[in-house]
Amino acid sequence: MRVSYEWLKTMVDLPDDPDALVAELVRTGTEVEAVETAGQALDHVVTGYIETCEQHPNADKLHVCRVDVGAAEPLQIVCGAPNVAAGEHVVVALEGAVLPGEVKIKRSKLRGVESQGMNCSERELGLGDDHSGIMVLPEDAPIGVPAALYLGLADTVVDCEITPNRPDCLSMTGFATEVSADLDVDTHIELPAIKHEEGPEASELVDVAIEAPELCSRYVARVVRGVKIGPSPAWLARRVQAAGTRAINNVVDVTNYVMYLTGQPLHAFDLGKLKCRDGKRSIVVRAATEGEKLTTLDGTERTLEAGMAVITDGGEEAVALAGVMGGLDSEIDEHTVDVLLESACFAPGSISHTSRDLDLMSESSLRFERGVDASRSAAVADIAAALFEQCCGATVCPGAVDVYPRPVEPVRVALRPERARAFIGARIPTDFMVERLRRLGCEVAEDADGALSVLCPTNRPDLTREADLIEEVCRLFGMDKVEATIPAAKNHTGGLTKAQERVEEIGRILRATGLSETINYNFAEKGDLARLGREDVGLGIPVRILNPLSMDQGEMRRTLLPGLLRSVAYNLDHGVANVTLYEQGRVLLGSPEAPQPAEPDRVAGVLSGAWTDETWDEKPRELDFFDAKGIVSALLDKLRVERVHYVPASPERYGWLLPGRAAEVRAGKRRLGWLGDVHPETLKRFGISQPVVAFELDQDAIVELAHDELPFKGIPVFPGVEVDLALVVDEETTYETCVQRLDSAGGRLLVDVELFDVYRDPDRVGEGKKSMAFRLTFRSPDRTLTAEEVDAVMAKLVKKVQKSLGAEVRS
């Protein structure tokens, strides 16, 4: 809503400085988007005084003037106006001025004589029609003053954002009322009134029928005759323009002006363009039929949908898209003589849908969407008729046709001042509440029990309950004046749950291992699983978005891996060769049996390249399977998840991983997830050309299986004995098997088994064999072991291991 300060000032007492009003508007809840100074079109236009005026040497109709414009030297101006004369006070456009109609004033020569500016007529200044001669100002007019200032054209436009609950503020009268309550000042709103009515009653000329009362709650029609289409008076054109609409002609401008004034959108039909049936025009408001066509004022042919409200000529063809835009066929033009004026109320929801569906917003649709006060439609039609009479030379036909199936009644609300004070937390006097609510247009009476009985104005549909009035009191009192307090929170404790703390702990551990956190979209592309080379197994059905922004965000992700692989590709494409990322996030797994999907959390990571670039004394090592495994093990170990083990991932189930370099992570029998080298074919489909190791785990399961405490383990008191042992085993024999066999062979005294070397050499170890060197630690909890004891245990162990592993033992 663009509010002209000059216009508003005619309705309510305002401070001289618009900024003071702006501050109060912001304080009381009207957002101000911009403050503009109007009258800019008259920059470089000043008042002047014609010192001399002589005949042009080469042209009969031109004069050469010396004009004082308050500058050091008078200007020489060539003027063709018949009324130009020495001693006149005039309006002068200086070099650099741009007059309405994009007329640029330049220094030029007219018939050989230089002209340094232009004396202006009213029309040239956009102030009116008069072009018979230059505008002559009174003798006491000052010299060299900006014309906009002298003529009172300087205006400030306050551009306000009106929240959807305040349709009243989409009108100057409503805005003035709001301002009077904000500032606690009086309003003085004077509205135009019809002077004279003549001719046939409107009801003899027009019939109105509302076939769809759910779409139209009131329709008032008035008729004015004999309009003389022409430009609007300057004051009216200025106000319409300040409000943001181009001035077109007096009839159209009046309808816009009255809309800005009252908030009631109006429409003017050219009466002559409507079909005459038995001497009468017939307006029928009905719902459009599917596919019905209407060419709107902007010249666009619109295809309507069933249910949109249309104004029709006798129920037949549509002549206007109700509340949104008029039809081209019944438009006012320069030949219009008689006007049928519509002041009607249409259903907000219907207008909102229509305007959205057709992508057609107008000042009218905006107001109907928010809600127009139907109780005032007839009064507003009278205001418009009065202005047609005043500004368009029209004769107003007596009466109006008013169809009003569902009259609006004002709402009475009880307000308990004590409740308001308790709710806001401020001692606001009851008198303050009464006074400010009255300023807002409420009728307030005090009940015997101390409550206020408030009759709310019909242009405030947002005031229907006590809470609504408390809001008004709160904002007018001033939120900044309410003392800030902290709630006592009696009988309440809070804080993170154990599970929430563990989720945060997972992040902390992963960062400590070196990974950095990233966040990806929860959206997925339909083909993401296929791109991975992954089946749907275990992932349910996708959650499909009905109105995706783009096809690559058509559904919700079921695994974190594609997003992370895209991050790897992004980094590689941007010259970052080392990518070490993790993400904790949700996946959405739909099911054909349930409307809403399961939404488990996952934690996943990717490692590619090295931890760092080469440094002055370190060569980077390429990250591989064991880095990922180390991270996963550290994570599960820190959270004390028990019975964690890794089994080879089957290529059938884990198609996106490199066979032989992939593991399933389990805790006992429970699957926690997977880790491994991503298959080169998968990487290729994501545009990645260097190896990537990844993991993805079930975060919910980890959180569930984590332990906070494990029993204390004693610090060893007696020294241990370390013995190194190399096992030469078949290539297929796993580390895990070796450890298991060693463990079971070592008995109670063997407390630790650590692998410290793996060695392959066909000549010395043998083809298809490997030598695995273990450091075994023997310790007794209650004595120092003797060499003989250890030797005895070792001898047994070696024998057993040779048998169980088929290993050759070298100690």
């Binding site: 959807p164 939120m479 945060e504 499909r544 992004y570």
Partner: protein, 355 residues
């Protein structure tokens, strides 16, 4: 006596050799040559038996004197040479301490997560619970129960992602993007679930991802992060809302920041307000960062509308409450002056490593 002369000669030779020894190895060679098993002095001592008995005490004393002197000289010279050697080692071990250190590689937290955790801490400190809810919500929880009118523009497919219902979905309606299921556009539905599940007192925040069909650009993301809060208790006032958010704002933005409450409109609160924090760049005087106003808009809030309480089965005559919502991305922008929100979603290591 030849033996005594010889001893004198050994002594003086040894002392000059000790003085001339340039390093510990040379010095040790002198020691061996004189005092070693086959050393010159040792030889003399060993040959004592061949001397005349009357000569023995004289020669023995002289030999011991010489040994004493030589040993003392050796010790002194050794001390000097060791000190010199240490000095040399120290000089040789000096490094360019401006060379980069070997830092353990520690990962970084995404700044949105960091902001969320920080806010959680602030509210947990005030005794709030942290509650999460599903991404796929029903229109009831996302709109109806929050007092959003049936024709509210935020419900249109332009402002809300709708989701196919695999059980009740009607293909014709779904073709028009109409469904009872959607991706939550705010985390407020979590509050409705909480009000249904728990009796007051309720002190909670619900951080989490939300979704709106805004094409990603410098200022918008179709997925972002909201932290919404709800308090429902007896005697909760608008002043309590202010006190809580003042505390929060200062905890997040700094002790010296001021707040401003501007009345606003939201369907689920009344009265509603937008909260501004004084600009941290200019201190409230007005600058380019705050567009000359001195204030930065940070969150929306208000007293819970009685309709919302009632719909969740809470008596609005007995209980009142407040709610607020803040965007983590908005805070990130204000704090780090991010020029483009999309940076948050690329996983660019160069960006992530900064936080």
């Amino acid at each position: 006596m030849a033996a005594l002369q010889e001893l004198e000669g050994i002594g003086s030779e040894a002392l000059s050799a000790i003085g001339a020894a340039a390093n510990l190895a040379d010095l040790d060679a002198v020691r061996v040559a004189v005092l070693g098993k086959k050393g010159s002095l040792t030889q003399i001592l060993r040959s004592m038996g061949s001397l005349a008995p009357e000569e023995r005490p004289l020669v023995g004393k002289a030999a011991n004197d010489v040994r004493g002197k030589v040993e003392a000289a050796l010790a002194e010279r050794k001390g000097t040479l060791e000190a010199e050697a240490l000095k040399e080692r120290i000089a040789a071990s000096a490094i360019d301490i401006t060379l980069p250190g070997r830092a353990p590689h520690v990962g970084t937290q995404h700044l949105i997560s960091a902001i969320v955790e920080e806010m959680e801490q602030v509210f947990c400190g005030m005794g709030y619970d942290v509650i999460d809810g599903p991404y796929v919500e029903t229109t009831y929880y996302n709109f109806d129960a929050l007092n959003a009118p049936a024709d509210h523009p935020s419900r249109s497919p332009r402002d809300t992602f709708y989701v196919a219902d695999p059980v009740h979905g009607d293909p014709a309606r779904e073709a028009r993007a109409e469904s009872e299921l959607l991706l939550r556009t705010q985390t407020s539905p979590v509050q409705v679930h909480a009000m249904e599940a728990h009796k007051p007192p309720i002190y909670m925040i619900s951080p989490g991802r939300v979704f709106r069909p805004d094409t990603a650009d410098a200022n918008h993301l179709p997925q972002f992060t909201q932290i919404e809060g709800l308090v429902v208790d007896e005697g909760i006032t608008f002043g309590d809302l202010k006190g809580t958010l003042d505390h929060f704002t200062r905890a997040i933005f700094g002790k010296d920041r001021a707040t401003r409450y501007r009345p606003h409109f939201f369907p689920f609160t009344e009265p509603s307000a937008e909260v501004d924090v004084s600009c941290g760049v200019c201190g409230g005087k007005g600058c380019r960062f705050c567009k000359g106003t001195g204030w930065l808009e940070i969150l929306g809030c208000g007293m819970v509308d009685p309709n919302v309480l009632e719909m969740s089965g809470i008596d609005p005559e007995r209980y009142s409450g407040f709610a607020f919502g803040i965007g983590a991305e908005r805070v990130a922008c204000l704090r780090y002056d991010l020029p483009d929100l999309r940076m948050l979603m690329t996983g660019d290591m160069r960006f992530l490593a900064q936080f």
